[in-house]
């Protein structure tokens, strides 16, 4: 089975320069890349003229909700939504029932993925049993079962000794601890619902201060220095956190960090509603639960710091934190509503805003979505080179479209971006050389 992708503007994840090239795929593996003359008739040609051809996107932080919360998302719908967003590999958080905290639950999850997923899925194991923050899981068994890291996800590790011990242990199992930094003591005993500051006060809402994130991140960074453990900071959102990472880098502390598309592009003003974001007169559309996400949407100055964090390599990974929720999870008051944004299908459009606004170079954005997360996973992924699997996304950098949540493939329709206009759209996604998603308008191929 042969395929050739012709005339695309190729980002290969190695040279980090985009240039026109052809890619020859045989039996799902990249055989050759360059200017290739086609010979023979049994070859499928995909014309990618004028389009970007990139390694498929790799998401190291998402939620598939299965098993346990199939009304929010399933492996089938989640992986299809991801493929529509250009993702060919995703990592699923252990926020399932049962939590992914044992060899059995991980084997079961992998079986389900085998049957139902259309892209590559790697599980993330819990750090502690039941994600309760008390007893560390059998980390080596979980690594042997295939987890790529450990996280208690929405339950940040509050106990510093648990964090210290798991970091110590991570050296032995060679997979990182991925912590969601939020000091519950600072965050109103976890009752905060949005960013702390003027707007939260104006709306009478409990705020989640930047300090709740940055203080725990500081603790983790210095524990990483102390232990020599493997540490990954999930979805940093606060400008102070970027400052902490800067100190970590200056001290030569080994860490990795991710940021989400929403923290990079939209502010807390989305709590005021999708359109009429007037701080002076609060409209009926305010207290929009679709903009409730954890960590919360922050401010323009935080966004600026996060962009600088990417441009100075303090943050090297863009991860979606795709968090699909059911209708009833969001159809309530801001206090009662679940956190989370359904993100797979808007990620490319969101982050390309930063390219179009000249805040971040295209090559840098693509590194953060492909080769950098591949390096984090330690897998032969995320590059277009001979011998690599043909996990590829083809996208149009300039096609304009408008977000309509009712078009989402994901069961989670919870996006604050309803009606937002984007420039840049996924046209085709290939996993191991097979087309798993094709834009309905289609193109040659």
């Amino acid at each position: 089975m042969k395929k050739i992708i012709k005339n695309g503007k190729v980002f290969d994840g190695i040279s980090n320069k985009i240039k026109q090239q052809d890619i020859l795929i045989i039996d799902g593996v990249i055989q050759n890349i360059g200017n290739i003359e086609i010979t023979g008739v049994d070859i499928e040609i995909i014309d990618a003229s004028n389009y970007i051809v990139s390694p498929g996107f790799i998401d190291i932080h998402s939620h598939l909700r299965e098993p346990g919360y199939e009304y929010k998302e399933t492996i089938a719908t989640g992986t299809r939504a991801a493929s529509k967003g250009g993702f060919t590999t995703i990592c699923a958080m252990p926020t399932t029932i049962p939590a992914l905290d044992s060899k059995d639950s991980i084997d079961y999850f992998k079986d389900l993925c085998q049957q139902r997923s259309i892209i590559k899925v790697y599980p993330i194991g819990a750090v502690t049993m039941g994600r309760e923050g008390k007893e560390i899981v059998e980390m080596q068994s979980l690594v042997d079962s295939g987890v790529i890291g450990f996280s208690d996800d929405g339950e940040p590790i509050q106990d510093p000794n648990i964090m210290r011990m798991s970091l110590e242990y991570s050296r032995m199992v060679s997979r990182p601890i991925m912590n969601h930094c939020d000091d519950r003591g600072i965050n109103y005993r976890a009752e905060g619902v949005m960013n702390d500051g003027f707007l939260a006060q104006r709306l009478g809402c409990n705020g989640i201060p930047n300090a709740a994130e940055a203080s725990m991140l500081s603790r983790d960074i210095f524990l990483t220095e102390l232990t020599g453990g493997l540490y990954h900071a999930c979805h940093v959102s606060a400008s102070q956190s970027v400052d902490v990472l800067k100190i970590a880098k200056e001290r030569g502390i080994n860490y990795s960090a991710e940021v989400t598309p929403h923290h990079l592009t939209i502010t807390e003003d989305f709590i005021l509603g999708p359109t009429d974001q007037n701080r002076k007169q609060i409209s009926e559309n305010a207290y929009d639960t679709f903009a409730k996400v954890f960590p919360p949407l922050r401010t323009k100055s935080d966004i600026q710091a996060l962009i600088e964090g990417i441009n100075s390599d303090l943050i090297s990974i863009i991860a979606t934190d795709h968090a699909p929720q059911g209708y009833e999870d969001k159809m309530t008051t801001l206090n009662q509503a679940a956190f989370g944004i359904s993100n797979f299908e808007t990620t490319l459009g969101s982050v390309l805003q930063l390219f179009h606004s000249k805040d971040i170079k295209l090559e840098k954005l693509l590194q953060c979505l492909t080769s950098n997360p591949a390096e984090f996973l330690g897998k032969k992924l995320g590059k277009l080179s001979k011998g690599y699997p043909a996990d590829i996304v083809i996208f149009d950098l300039n096609e304009e479209w408008e977000v309509d949540i009712s078009d989402f493939v994901s069961l989670g329709k919870n996006s604050p971006l309803q009606g937002v206009k984007f420039k840049g759209k996924v046209l085709q996604t290939l996993v191991d050389g097979e087309i798993v998603y094709s834009d309905k308008k289609g193109h040659d191929g």
């Binding site: 005993r189 003027f198 709306l203 009478g204 002076k280 009926e284 207290y287 008051t333 801001l334 206090n335």
Partner: protein, 323 residues
């Protein structure tokens, strides 16, 4: 005289201009004659159904709305979350949509979550009045307070209002700032720093200065009272004790209680307001609430007239001229 903007609901004071507020006062003034007359019943809202949906305990606000509706001959139904289908796990939105389908013409909502009336308002067709949402807003209370001051002092422009106490958890103070500022009063907050909604003063960004009235904050009671025309004491919210907002009652009362002694810091003409319910001996000494300086009883009396006016404006056929 007409409203500047048609009012479809009342969620907070920021929907109202100065002119709108004065219009509501004039309406209330006309209605006061009914309240003071021999037969306290007029058929102005006959055939209309008002539902009070209160998911938090309330006596004065609920009874005042109920009485306002009954005087106007509306049918008033009270729903509280205890004893309702809330206890069977029915979702909040289903509950209010059911009340709309049953035939309510207006919903009066009290809820412990900030923003709950906004959420309801965008999901049902009938008008909604916010009767207090979490720590966010209590617009009818503010209209009552403004009306009380307007009736007893007159012009509000240029008055100094001092709000004493826990403003960070207070929906009354949030709406009061908007309302009193709209009518030209200057607002000073006085509380322990732990009870101060700090956006109101030093922590506000340049961009937001235009988005909010200028207010002064101090934790010195003497400074706060020295130029007061109006002193509003807020209820100390003991149910929020877990927030550790002050070390103990003794220290709080010593520094912040309004008493005969601390009242000496204020000009003699200064009047006292309290949105109730009061913790006598904590934020205010009991005898002060009964003194000639207190407007607290007028606040309660005026509440019915203001709420009658709002009900007619939102669901009635009458205008100011035809009432």
């Amino acid at each position: 005289m007409i409203l500047d903007n048609k009012l479809n609901n009342l969620l907070d004071i920021d929907q109202l201009t100065k002119n709108d507020i004065l219009y509501i006062f004039e309406f209330a003034e006309k209605l006061s004659s009914i309240l003071n007359g021999p037969v306290k019943k007029v058929p102005v809202l006959r055939g209309k159904t008002i539902i009070n949906y209160f998911s938090e305990p309330s006596t004065r606000t609920r009874v005042s709305f109920e009485n306002a509706g009954k005087i106007l001959s509306a049918d008033v139904i009270n729903v509280s979350s205890s004893g309702s289908s809330d206890e069977k796990g029915e979702s909040f939105i289903n509950a209010v949509q059911t009340l709309e389908s049953i035939g309510a013409d207006i919903l009066i909502i009290r809820h412990s979550d900030s923003g709950a009336p906004y959420f309801v308002s965008r999901n049902i067709q009938i008008p909604v009045i916010n009767a207090g949402d979490g720590s966010h807003a209590h617009p009818t209370q503010t209209l009552i307070d403004l009306y009380t001051v307007y009736k007893s002092i007159g012009e509000i422009e240029g008055l100094n209002l001092t709000i004493l106490g826990d403003n960070i958890h207070s929906r009354v103070s949030r709406s009061a700032v908007l309302g009193f500022s709209t009518l030209g009063a200057k607002v000073t907050f006085c509380s322990p720093t732990t009870m101060n909604a700090n956006f109101l003063s030093d922590n506000i960004s340049k961009e937001d200065i235009d988005n909010y009235p200028a207010v002064i904050y101090t934790s010195n009671l003497k400074d706060a009272l020295s130029e007061s025309d109006l002193i509003m004491t807020l209820r100390t919210q003991f149910e929020r004790k877990a927030s550790l907002v002050f070390p103990n009652i003794n220290e709080y009362t010593r520094l912040f209680k309004l008493s005969n002694e601390s009242l000496k810091y204020a000009p003699d003409k200064a009047k006292i307001l309290h949105p109730g319910p009061m913790n006598l001996g904590v934020e205010i000494d009991g005898y002060l609430s009964e003194s000639e300086r207190s407007l607290i009883n007028q606040q309660v009396m005026n509440s019915v007239a203001i709420r009658m006016a709002l009900l007619i404006i939102l669901i009635g056929e009458h205008t100011l001229d035809s009432i």
